[in-house]
Symmetry: C2
């Protein structure tokens, strides 16, 4: 194998594909990146659950393929001095990397033992902008359960039908729902994507209108955008019936500044010294004021934030970190919070429309 | 005690004084900051080796003093919502911190048990710009020994006489010397300042011409600049006689681009997998080229950098991290390196003048 390509393009491709490289695996080959040189270069990282490939242009002098330890390759690529880089592999799998007046020689590994990514047929196609999908992930991912006992909640549900796309995550204590309207009629689809795949995808996606296309089969999903492709195993099983969880009415509704409430809860958390101790943050109203109150072994915080209120008075305790995750995900300046007494679910909504809904269960006293 | 001050000024004062707060001490009071309110506010952090005080203006409604856990105070100050903050302490040492519509109540501690900083008489005075001292520290601090067995090398020597100031650090394998000329006649002084004190000072000092004044007694040094004062115990004992270490001539002299050499050594270090294994980097010349070579269990790096050379050919091994520390401290685009064979000391100098000298011992084969 021998090729010449742009150093910066190689660097970006390594950064993207490295996200799918296995960190600790019994299959040692999986800590490497597969480089395949044909018309161009295809880099692949794959941990048997999720695979990422990235294609970049190159001058191919001799086609071939090789596996190189991802960390070593990435460290070297980041520090290469020249604008272009030449990679040459000999029969003994010795890899020569030359850039400027710098020449590395490292050992490569047999590419034939690198596992092949699953094929995903071009069916069940769905296209949207990268920015939209990135936002939908960002605004729900925190509520994906990390409890391995609840396997089918370890991902987010992506559901589309008519002209609506929904992404939903539930961890048993809270729910995050994000809704987008589509200008075109969508296929009827419903599948659960692993939290890890969504997180890595969120980190690669651009904040712009460039398109991303999804294809799904029974077992896998494939994301294709720019020069990147990601394939991930889908989570099998039923997702929780979340429609029934969201209350249709509320006993109290308030409208409040998102950032003011977020900052107040952040301050209340300063008084919680250890993650093990769970001190609730208390919300109650005094006329048109929300009183945020926290008492721990360290001290007391008392805050007041102006609100518009309709409905009953309230006096409710929450896990502050659950509440703050939802508030940090919201981009709206003002939000509506709907309380249902001391034990009923609390729901954070936009003031207009139904783009998002965050359900948080109060803590019992 | 009751006072009102600017939140941002309090925040900065906490950040500065917190650097002297003891992290793990048998004296529990030392994890706190002393706040004293009289005409203004004086904050003090002190770990019994080094003390930092910072003075800020305030409206003092009731004078007094209190000790508050530094971490808690700093966390709270950074998140206060208002432009001003009021701090009020009652008879039970309960501290009320109010800013905007946010009110914290935390427990304070008796100020009387906080140890008093040592007095440093205004003798042996030396004044320079903050930027100059900051640079002198930055360009020598890496060579301060961390070997506690070599107590008098755990700091840098500051020496002045005539119109010369020198700062020198030695760790047994290398030496860093930094020289500054003064426009005025200086007192004859020589003392060893703790590495930790220098490091914290470097982080607080500004990159500008604002003045810093030093006073020393037998046992202590006091730095006074802006609204900050730092007091540190001096290291007692003899410093190594470094003049005799620096060779007066050299067998080979090369002139090389600092950054090109730095980057080449950084690349060579990519092949060193573990800090425990010490693979030397090899320098040798081929006509007007420096060949940088590294061979480890992982691979080989070969680089070529153009040089001007006079004197003998050379072929020498170095600890790459020792060499790189010196190169990273140099601001000059081009440097002169003076070799003295495979075992003699190597010295990095400016091309003109004698502002700095970095001596690095080669590794024996």
């Amino acid at each position: 194998m021998k090729l010449i390509c742009q150093t910066s393009e190689l660097k970006d491709a390594i950064m993207n594909t490295q996200r799918a490289v296995a960190v600790r695996s019994t299959m040692q080959i999986l800590d490497g990146l597969l480089i395949e040189a044909n018309q161009d270069i295809l880099l692949t990282g794959y941990d048997m659950e999720m695979g990422i490939t990235c294609r970049i242009p190159a001058e191919i002098i001799e086609p071939g393929k090789i596996v190189i330890t991802a960390k070593m390759l990435s460290d070297i690529a980041r520090k290469l001095p020249g604008e272009t880089v030449s990679i040459e592999v000999d029969d003994q799998l010795k890899v020569k990397i030359v850039s400027g007046k710098s020449e590395f020689q490292i050992k490569g590994r047999e590419a034939d033992t690198f596992p092949v990514l699953p094929e995903v047929a071009k069916e069940n196609e769905l296209t949207m902008s990268q920015a939209t999908l990135k936002n939908m992930i960002r605004q729900t991912i925190f509520a994906v359960s990390t409890d391995e006992q609840r396997h089918n909640l370890n991902g987010a549900l992506l559901k589309c039908a008519g002209n609506l796309i929904e992404m939903v995550a539930i961890d048993g204590f809270r729910l995050a729902l994000r809704r987008e309207e589509s200008p075109v009629e969508l296929p009827n689809l419903e599948f659960i994507i692993h939290g890890k795949a969504l997180r890595e995808l969120m980190n690669i996606l651009l904040d712009d209108k460039a398109a991303i296309t999804l294809y799904t089969t029974m077992n896998h999903i494939k994301f294709h955008f720019g020069n990147v492709t990601m394939v991930s195993r889908l989570i099998q099983g039923e997702f929780m019936n979340y429609d029934s969880l969201l209350p249709s009415s509320s006993q109290t509704q308030i409208v409040i500044n998102t950032l003011k409430l977020q900052r107040a809860i952040e301050r209340s958390m300063l008084l919680i010294e250890s993650d093990n101790l769970r001190y609730p943050v208390n919300f109650k109203n005094e006329d048109n004021v929300l009183v945020v109150h926290e008492t721990t072994n360290v001290g007391i915080l008392h805050e007041e934030i102006e609100i518009d209120i309709s409905g009953d008075n309230f006096d409710i305790d929450f896990n502050p970190s659950y509440f703050i995750d939802a508030l940090r995900a919201v981009d709206d300046e003002m939000i509506s919070i709907n309380f249902n007494g001391q034990v009923g679910p609390c729901v954070v909504n936009p003031i207009e429309g139904d783009k998002f809904a965050y359900l948080i269960m109060p803590l019992r006293r």
